[in-house]
């Protein structure tokens, strides 16, 4: 971890486990032994299929879900489990979330003015009414909306506009860390870039750190600095974005990458799709752990599998050289 030692760890997830109790599946483990770090100023993407536990991890960080094991450290301070009132407020101030469905995540009966100032009211982040108005106007302008929208209701907006309201409401809190839970998957393809550019703009202006959740690798390729791949509640591979796309090692990552369509019909036709073999993971589940197979490239494996993966890397490197 030579490179990363210089970076400041903002969020440290250690052996985190989230368990749901309900009558059907007793003690269903949605997240199993998650370990990863998010460094200050980077965009960390968590990619996985529906039900893989990516949203559950995000909600555990922001304290919407309880953890059953492990520790979540934000700036070195434990933020999971029981906390004092001040600590809870500190987490709410510093970690904010952008939700997946902009239609569902805004209060339909409240004006945009209230939606955006909700955090300001809760934390008394304004001196007087004029100061609050100014802050709301600023927040609206920063996401490309107009101050005249304040008296409007969420249902009067388009999907992209609503998502920008959602971003403005998170940004007005001036957080350090933002969790974006599939912020563009409910949006029209034509306005996805607009929202991603807006998020990038805020990242540059305010030095934010993002955790970006997606189910589609093609989206995060240009947006994320590092990518974690999660499957069935287990993180199977973590690597830098370029590294992951050039050297996908874990079989699940490889099958995910295959699912990204190529804009060339000839290649698409010749593509042989390999389905991911779940049994393999089941075999390694007991003995395996997240291990560094290349510098800054971690995969979930057991010791016996190491030669197999190393052979794969050698093969890929040979292929890349040619």
């Amino acid at each position: 971890m030579s490179v990363n030692n210089e970076k400041e760890v903002l969020l440290d997830i250690q052996h985190v486990e989230v368990t749901f109790n309900n009558s059907r599946h007793h003690n269903f483990k949605a997240v199993k032994d998650a370990n990863f770090q998010i460094y200050k100023g980077e965009t960390f993407a968590l990619v996985g299929e529906s039900g893989s536990g990516k949203t559950t991890i995000a909600r555990a960080i922001i304290r919407l879900n309880d953890t059953s094991n492990g520790e979540i450290l934000f700036k070195g301070k434990k933020i999971n489990g029981p906390l004092s009132k001040e600590d809870k407020k500190w987490v709410q101030r510093n970690i904010q979330m952008i939700f997946q469905d902009p239609a569902a995540s805004l209060n339909e009966r409240a004006t945009i003015d209230y939606c955006i100032s909700e955090g300001l009211y809760n934390f008394q982040l304004y001196k007087d009414e004029a100061d609050r108005q100014r802050k709301v106007d600023e927040a609206l302008n920063s996401v490309g909306l107009l101050p005249e929208h304040k008296s409007r209701y969420p249902h009067e907006f388009s999907g992209g506009q609503r998502q920008r309201v959602g971003i403005a409401r998170a940004m007005i809190m001036e957080p350090e860390f933002i969790i974006a839970d599939e912020p563009i998957s409910a949006l029209d393809v034509s306005i996805r870039a607009q929202v991603l550019n807006l998020m990038n703009k805020f990242k540059e202006e305010r030095g934010l750190t993002y955790m970006f959740i997606a189910h589609d690798l093609s989206v995060v390729r240009y947006f994320a600095d590092r990518i974690g791949v999660i499957h069935n509640g287990r993180i199977v591979e973590i690597a830098e974005s370029n590294e992951l796309f050039h050297f996908p090692i874990h079989p699940y990552t490889r099958s995910l990458l295959q699912a990204v369509p190529m804009p060339d019909p000839e290649i698409e036709k010749a593509k042989v799709l390999k389905a991911y073999d779940q049994e393999k993971e089941d075999r390694t589940a007991e003995t395996g752990s997240l291990q560094e197979i290349k510098p800054n490239h971690f995969i979930f494996m057991s010791e016996e599998e190491r030669p197999e993966y190393e052979a794969l890397i050698a093969e890929m490197e040979k292929y890349k050289e040619n």
């Binding site: 709410q92 979330m97 939700f99 569902a104 209060n107 490309g144 107009l146 209701y153 249902h155």
Partner: protein, 309 residues
């Protein structure tokens, strides 16, 4: 054909904010509710009708000063059982009092009982229901209370209570609302549980909004139409319930005038002097139906899904 030249064109500067502009007129929730409500002719008619009934019930007894215990004409047979005419609009009753005065006094009592019982049921039911929907600990207790209360016939409880504490107006209000709020609370609890974990409430929690503020700003506004429906069902049902209890003889005592008392008292006259029986029945039905339709239309109008166009 005119020649194309420079003068025909002008430079237009693209303005991104132009596309953000919303041209639709300002939306206001309550204005839309009233617009929607007043678009129904039947509802306007019923509202005027119930308005007249309520005003008559409030002011007519003040003018007439009717008291069922004061019977100046009891020994004048010529004053009894006069059919409705220009002087006595609803005729006179078995003790020679004007039925018009008696009916409005009775309506006032019945409406008062029904409105009070509805108010208690709604306020208590909504408050407890909100708490019930949010707290697991309250849920474990309240669900047992609900199971017990909903399995004992409400009529039985009301009857026993009226026997035990007497047949006054306040006693009857107490007897009617002592258990009815539990079912309203249960109804609200289910609604709260449905919308409690919706994403916009999670978003509010992430923004640090305390639970009471989530209830007042996020949940209650969504339940306006549900609460309106419950009120519009409760008012007529309490009127009928008062009539029913008085009719079977466990409602108000002899000294009170109420629609239920009158219907019970005059049911033997159904064939001899039918107006004595049918006028209170008609008034009771009129109030129930008109208030129910007004309430239901208001409940529909307060659902924002009906506000489109």
């Amino acid at each position: 054909m005119t020649e194309l030249n420079q003068d025909l064109f002008e430079i237009e500067i693209a303005d991104d904010s132009e596309s953000e502009h919303i041209s639709a007129p300002q939306y206001s929730y309550w204005r839309s509710v009233f617009r929607r409500f007043f678009s129904s002719k039947l509802a306007i008619f019923m509202m005027i009708l119930s308005g007249i009934v309520i005003l008559l019930a409030i002011f007519q007894p003040m003018i007439s000063g009717y008291d069922p215990n004061v019977t100046p004409n009891i020994n004048r047979p010529e004053m009894k059982y006069i059919r409705p005419n220009a002087t006595y609009w609803f005729g006179t009753d078995d003790v020679g009092n004007s039925l018009f005065d008696a009916v409005w006094k009775g309506t006032a009592t019945s409406l008062f009982i029904s409105f009070m019982a509805t108010a208690i049921t709604t306020v208590l039911g909504v408050a407890v229901g909100m708490w019930w929907g949010f707290s697991k600990r309250v849920d474990t207790v309240m669900i047992e209370v609900y199971n017990i209360v909903s399995n004992i016939p409400a009529t039985l409880i009301a009857m026993i209570l009226v026997y035990a504490i007497g047949g006054g107006v306040w006693q009857l209000i107490f007897a009617l609302s002592v258990t009815s709020w539990v079912s309203t609370a249960y109804f609200i609890r289910v609604q709260v549980m449905i919308i409690r974990d919706r994403e916009y409430n999670l978003a509010s929690r992430c923004l640090g909004t305390p639970t009471w503020k989530i209830i007042t700003h996020n949940i209650l506004p969504y339940l306006v139409s549900v609460i309106m429906t419950s009120i519009s069902r409760d008012v007529p049902s309490f009127i009928s319930y008062e009539v029913f209890l008085s009719f079977i003889g466990v409602g108000l005592g002899q000294q009170y005038a109420s629609l239920g008392r009158m219907i019970q008292q005059y049911s033997p006259y159904m064939t001899s002097t039918p107006y004595l029986f049918w006028i209170p029945v008609a008034i009771s039905a009129l109030i129930s139906v008109s208030l129910y339709i007004v309430g239901q239309t208001l409940a529909d109008a307060s659902d924002p899904r009906t506000h489109m166009i």
